[in-house]
């Protein structure tokens, strides 16, 4: 059975209009309330933060006053701090060459005599000397390069990272083998 709408057209238009007014009113009020709430929240936030900032500023001002009263101790502390940090840096980058000398001496065979020794550029030492024979020099070079050298100090086995035998020749007068070696160091182990 078909529904017959007997409401007059003008009434229908009136109803649509009222509905539109009602809907838009509700929507507008809801929107206003939402925006109002957001605005209120933001205003509250802003005010709260401003209050907090003011409170921090008060505290900061008081703390600054207290700190300024301790100016003398602050200067002493700063001096101490600066000296400490510099000293720490200096000591941590310092090479303890006594360790090098000790480790080097341990690896010199009795058949080898050192004639010159010098700290060179780029973590190297230049060493020259004489050996009773070529075998003595070979032993010396091997001992220097041996990271598992038995008599090496704790953690110092690898202090000589590379040994380059630059020259070896036999001295006819003394019948000894002269050598010149360049030894590369691991400087970190000397610190």
């Amino acid at each position: 059975m078909a529904n017959i709408n007997l409401i007059p057209q003008s009434e229908k238009q009136e109803q649509v209009k009222q509905k539109a007014v009602k809907t838009s009113t509700v929507l507008a009020i809801v929107l206003f309330l939402i925006v109002g709430a957001i605005g209120g929240y933001m205003f509250y936030q802003s005010t709260t933060i401003n209050k907090q900032i003011a409170s921090h500023e008060d505290n900061i001002s008081n703390l600054r006053g207290d700190i300024q009263r301790l100016e003398a101790i602050e200067i002493s502390a700063r001096n101490l701090g600066q000296r400490y940090s510099t000293l720490k840096e200096l000591l941590s980058s310092r090479n303890y060459y006594s360790i090098l000398m000790e480790e080097f001496e341990k690896r010199i065979p009795s058949t080898v005599e050192i004639e010159t020794f010098g700290i060179g550029r780029g973590n190297t030492i230049n060493v020259s000397g004489t050996g009773a024979d070529y075998i003595a020099i070979a032993k010396f070079v091997n001992d220097l390069a041996n990271s598992n050298f038995p008599q090496a100090g704790e953690g110092l086995g690898g202090v000589f990272t590379d040994v380059a035998l630059n020259s070896v020749n036999l001295d006819a007068q003394t019948n000894k083998a002269r050598f010149f070696i360049v030894v590369t160091l691991d400087e970190a182990l000397l610190r």
């Binding site: 057209q9 209009k17 007014v21 838009s24 009113t25 507008a28 009020i29 929107l31 206003f32 925006v35 109002g36 957001i38 605005g39 933001m42 936030q45 933060i49 401003n50 907090q52 900032i53 921090h56 500023e57 900061i60 703390l63 600054r64 700190i67 300024q68 301790l70 100016e71 101790i73 602050e74 200067i75 002493s76 502390a77 700063r78 001096n79 101490l80 701090g81 600066q82 000296r83 400490y84 510099t86 000293l87 720490k88 840096e89 200096l90 000591l91 980058s93 310092r94 090479n95 303890y96 060459y97 006594s98 000398m101 000790e102 001496e105 004639e115 010159t116 020794f117 010098g118 700290i119």
Partner: protein, 309 residues
């Protein structure tokens, strides 16, 4: 209009009516009146957005940043104040620590004391010092940021391998910081110096002049209870301190009389004669002393005694 038979007529139920003049504004007015509430609400919403929400939205992040900064600063100042109060409680310890560190990393070059220290260490190690010189130098490029200065020392000595090793050990354990920049040694060639080396050390001793000022908002980072700090201090305290100082005192003595000075000069002449000097040399010295005597006669004499401890 005639409608053909057999067809339904389409007669509009309502006839379009032409707008009557003056009816249109009234309709707009009615519409506005009907929508007054939503319009006002939307207007207020817009006003709220542009007056409060939008400016606050822009301002809030800045305020939050400012709050964060203030909060951080406050915490920093609180920490600093706590540190300073702690340091104040241990003021004597701070002073003692500062004094110890200052003896290791000195404030001034004090070259004579440094050279004396190096000389003493070398001699104590058995080395025979034959050259000792110094120059002022800048810190290396890598260390330039640390802003300390260095005194470079060139030390020439003679000794055996063991003595060189001992010297290096002693130097490393001496309180005033002296670093070995480089060194080399070469065997002595003569037969009666077997096992001896001519050694050359290039040493550098840093010194740091510290003149800090109080900066209220900057933190004080030194913590005397920090294990690293204590470790370093313990290490430093084990160093050997050389108390080399030249305490020069100027003492005002009683004014000497002319007779006393003449007596002193005569005694001097006698001493010179016994020293085996020639008459000409003695005469030259006497004429010099006469000139001095004349100068002394013109003004009152005050002797200054210099004592060196």
């Amino acid at each position: 209009m005639e409608v053909p038979q057999g067809q339904l007529s389409e007669i509009p139920l309502t006839t379009p009516t032409a707008p009557v003049a003056g009816e249109q504004p009234s309709k707009i007015k009615d519409t506005l009146l009907n929508f007054i509430v939503p319009i006002v609400a939307l207007g207020l919403t817009a006003a709220l957005f542009f007056v409060i929400i939008y400016p606050t939205m822009k301002k809030l992040p800045i305020l939050r940043e400012e709050l964060q900064a203030k909060s951080t600063l406050e915490n920093q100042l609180r920490t600093k104040l706590a540190n300073l109060n702690k340091l104040l409680d241990f003021e004597t310890v701070v002073e003692e620590n500062a004094s110890v560190l200052e003896r290791v990393l000195v404030s001034n070059a004090t070259v004579p004391e440094l050279l004396t220290q190096v000389d003493i260490i070398a001699k104590n190690s058995g080395l025979s010092v034959n050259k000792l010189s110094y120059s002022f130098g800048e810190a290396t490029e890598a260390d330039a940021l640390l802003s300390y200065s260095v005194v470079n020392i060139s030390l020439g000595a003679v000794g055996n391998y063991s003595q060189v090793e001992t010297f290096l050990t002693n130097l490393e354990n001496s309180a005033r910081l002296v670093d070995v920049s480089t060194y080399r040694f070469a065997a002595e060639n003569s037969e009666d110096t077997v096992g001896l080396f001519n050694v050359t050390f290039i040493l550098s001793s840093p010194y740091l002049t510290v003149e800090s000022t109080a900066v209220t908002d900057d933190p004080v980072n030194v913590d005397i209870s920090d294990p690293e700090f204590i470790e370093l201090l313990d290490k430093v305290k084990k160093f050997r301190f050389f108390d080399i100082s030249v305490d020069t005192q100027f003492e005002d003595l009683e004014e000497s009389t002319q007779e006393e000075l003449e007596g002193t000069l005569e005694e001097g002449e006698e001493v010179l004669q016994t020293e085996g000097l020639t008459d000409e040399e003695i005469q030259a010295l006497i004429s010099e002393s006469d000139a001095i005597e004349e100068e002394l006669a013109d003004e009152p004499v005050v002797e200054e005694e210099v004592t060196t401890e």
